[in-house]
């Protein structure tokens, strides 16, 4: 069972001083999974992402990726093992072009080492070509071709969100963690995004964990949903199970009309 999980996080906890931001959180993300992570503001979703990607070290608990213990390792090591992510507050390489941003994601897989770079031996040109070709494909997949030479910092919000996904895809991940990818998007941009997430999950066979505030979107998109409240996992299951869970309605949806939950 556990050998099938790409990400196997066991009972991870993270404290900030007296605050327990994530409390005994566990996740088994399987190959090709599409899991939603929901919860009210400050529930600890982003902190959970930071723990799963090595940005923060857990106070306790373990994180295994494809059965290898990577607890406490830095983000680039987790990235090398196939964990990619986007950020709630967009983090692009603003001064680089769209293509260059994506190419950076290909560096760890195909980038030539220093000596080959300085001597520009044939293997250097080959690796540059591979990175360029793959990045161009990803730019096409994420529908950014028209903007390929534009400065990333000059893009619209929606394009920036897609560019973050493109850069993450360039790392050739097995699991992609999206932190509120639809935040700030208009309706048509959100539709494009949902299609893209489906494509990534179904065609590229990448496991996706997505944090989202829009409950309709999560329920429509995800096969499995986790609900976080005050750092604790209060429910987990299919969208239907979760929607009828009393703890969820109380914790997360309590302030809303119950009818709003049903898609």
């Amino acid at each position: 069972m556990s050998s099938e999980a790409i990400i196997d996080a066991n009972h991870i906890t993270r404290r900030f001083g007296g605050l327990v931001a994530v409390d005994d959180y566990s996740l088994q993300l399987m190959h090709g999974d599409l899991v939603g992570l929901i919860g009210p503001n400050g529930a600890g979703k982003t902190t959970a992402f930071n723990l799963l990607t090595g940005v923060l070290k857990p106070s306790s608990g373990t994180i295994r990726v494809a059965d290898i213990d990577l607890t406490g390792r830095p983000p680039h090591v987790l990235a090398r093992h196939g964990i990619a992510r986007t950020f709630q507050n967009i983090r692009l390489f603003n001064d680089l072009s769209v293509l260059e941003n994506v190419m950076c994601g290909g560096h760890m897989r195909y980038g030539a080492p220093l000596l080959a770079t300085l001597l520009q031996i044939p293997s250097f040109w080959r690796s540059e070509q591979i990175i360029a070709d793959r990045s161009t494909e990803i730019v096409e997949l994420t529908e950014l071709s028209a903007l390929i030479h534009r400065r990333a910092g000059d893009l619209s919000y929606g394009d920036q969100r897609r560019l973050e996904i493109a850069r993450a895809l360039a790392t050739e991940p097995v699991a992609l963690l999206l932190d509120e990818p639809a935040a700030g998007l208009n309706a048509s941009e959100t539709r494009i995004l949902i299609d893209l997430i489906r494509k990534i999950n179904e065609e590229l066979k990448i496991g996706v964990l997505v944090v989202e505030h829009d409950v309709h979107m999560v329920m429509g998109l995800c096969r499995r949903v986790q609900v976080l409240n005050r750092g604790k996992l209060v429910a987990e299951g299919t969208p239907n199970e979760v929607q009828s869970d009393a703890a969820v309605i109380e914790a997360y949806l309590g302030t809303r009309r119950k009818g709003a939950v049903h898609a």
């Binding site: 992510r85 983090r91 001064d95 293509l99 941003n101 950076c104 980038g111 070709d133």
Partner: protein
């Protein structure tokens, strides 16, 4: 070859290389002409200009491309200067000037090339030792650490008199640096920096500069990338320091000071962080400016005027064009030219 392939990859790598070689040949010819027609003073000035350009471009590799804030160039130049000078110092004078040298140094007199290489390698070791703890930390710790390094190296040079002859410094260093050495170093530094910048490694450096956390999460080992940039910069600084002492034939603990670090950082900032063209032009311009102002400073008694002008231009740039004259890029005609597409 899809039509959206990046610009740099469209031209064949060879044509870019031949354009670069042709350019170097043309400039070398100009240097040769200058060398036979100029006075010895102007020849030295030209060599100094080349070394300054090499220094500015190498610092741009560290600070501009990777977003580090190293002030360490003077420290590495001092290390390189002393290392090379002790190695090339005439054997018969060593017994007088440096009677306490260890046996293997006292009885040897090395040619410039191996001495310069040794200087560079020693600087690499020092850079790794300094970088190892500091480059894991965030940005500005490096500024403090390298500032400390300048002080430590100066103190070492002052107090380790058996090796360095203390505060009075070493004089009578053989004048081995010709204009061609300086020119060669400049070409080497520009070529290395250019190749790094337009490569996957260079993009990883710029990613680290733009957003270290996002770079890490995209698989870039920011520590490694910073280390490469820091070590390369230190290597070239040491070589420049070594060549410079063999041009001016003296070195004291204060030859390369914090002021020099300031001036180099200013060159990078004014030229544009990450812009090779900017660093070349500004370093050359400031060298010429300070030399032309020197007679005026002396006749008017306005010492430090060029320093004031440097500081003023920095303030103006920060105010009106904070990204520097050239931003982080290279002017499009220069990129075209060196990628070979200029020739069609």
């Amino acid at each position: 070859m899809s039509k959206t392939a990046p610009e740099a990859e469209k031209a064949s790598p060879l044509s870019g290389f031949s354009v670069a070689v042709a350019t170097v040949a043309v400039v070398a010819f100009a240097v040769w002409l200058a060398q036979i027609s100029l006075s010895a003073y102007l020849g030295t000035l030209l060599a100094l200009l080349f070394i300054n350009v090499a220094l500015a471009v190498s610092l741009n590799l560290t600070n501009g491309l990777s977003g580090l804030f190293s002030l360490g160039h003077p420290a590495f130049m001092t290390i390189g200067g002393y290392s090379a000078a002790i190695l090339t110092y005439p054997e018969r004078r060593k017994s007088v000037m440096l009677p306490d040298l260890p046996e293997f140094l006292a009885t040897n007199e090395v040619a410039l090339f191996p001495a310069v290489l040794a200087a560079g390698l020693i600087a690499i070791v020092v850079a790794i030792v300094v970088g190892f703890p500091v480059l894991r930390l965030r940005g500005h710790y490096l500024a403090v650490a390298t500032l400390g390094l300048i002080v430590i190296v100066q103190n070492l040079a002052t107090n380790w008199s058996g090796i360095t002859r203390g505060g009075s410094g070493l004089s009578g260093i053989p004048r081995l640096t010709t204009i061609w050495w300086a020119f060669g170093l400049m070409v080497l530094v520009i070529a290395v920096t250019w190749r790094v910048k337009f490569s996957s490694l260079g993009r990883a450096m710029m990613a680290t500069r733009e957003n270290p956390l996002a770079a890490e999460c995209a698989g870039v080992s920011t520590f490694r990338v910073r280390m490469v940039a820091f070590v390369l910069g230190a290597f070239f600084a040491a070589i420049a320091g070594a060549l410079l002492v063999h041009l001016i034939s003296v070195i004291t603990p204060k030859t390369y000071s914090v002021l020099l670090a300031f001036n180099l950082v200013v060159m990078v900032v004014i030229g544009g962080t990450g812009s090779i063209s900017g660093a070349v032009i500004i370093a050359a311009g400031l060298t010429v400016l300070s030399e032309t102002l020197r007679p005026m400073e002396e006749s008017l008694g306005l010492y430090g005027m060029s320093q004031v002008i440097v500081a003023l231009s920095l303030i103006l740039i920060l105010f009106f064009r904070p990204q520097g004259l050239f931003g982080s890029g290279e002017p499009i005609f220069i990129r075209r030219f060196f990628s070979g597409r200029f020739l069609g």
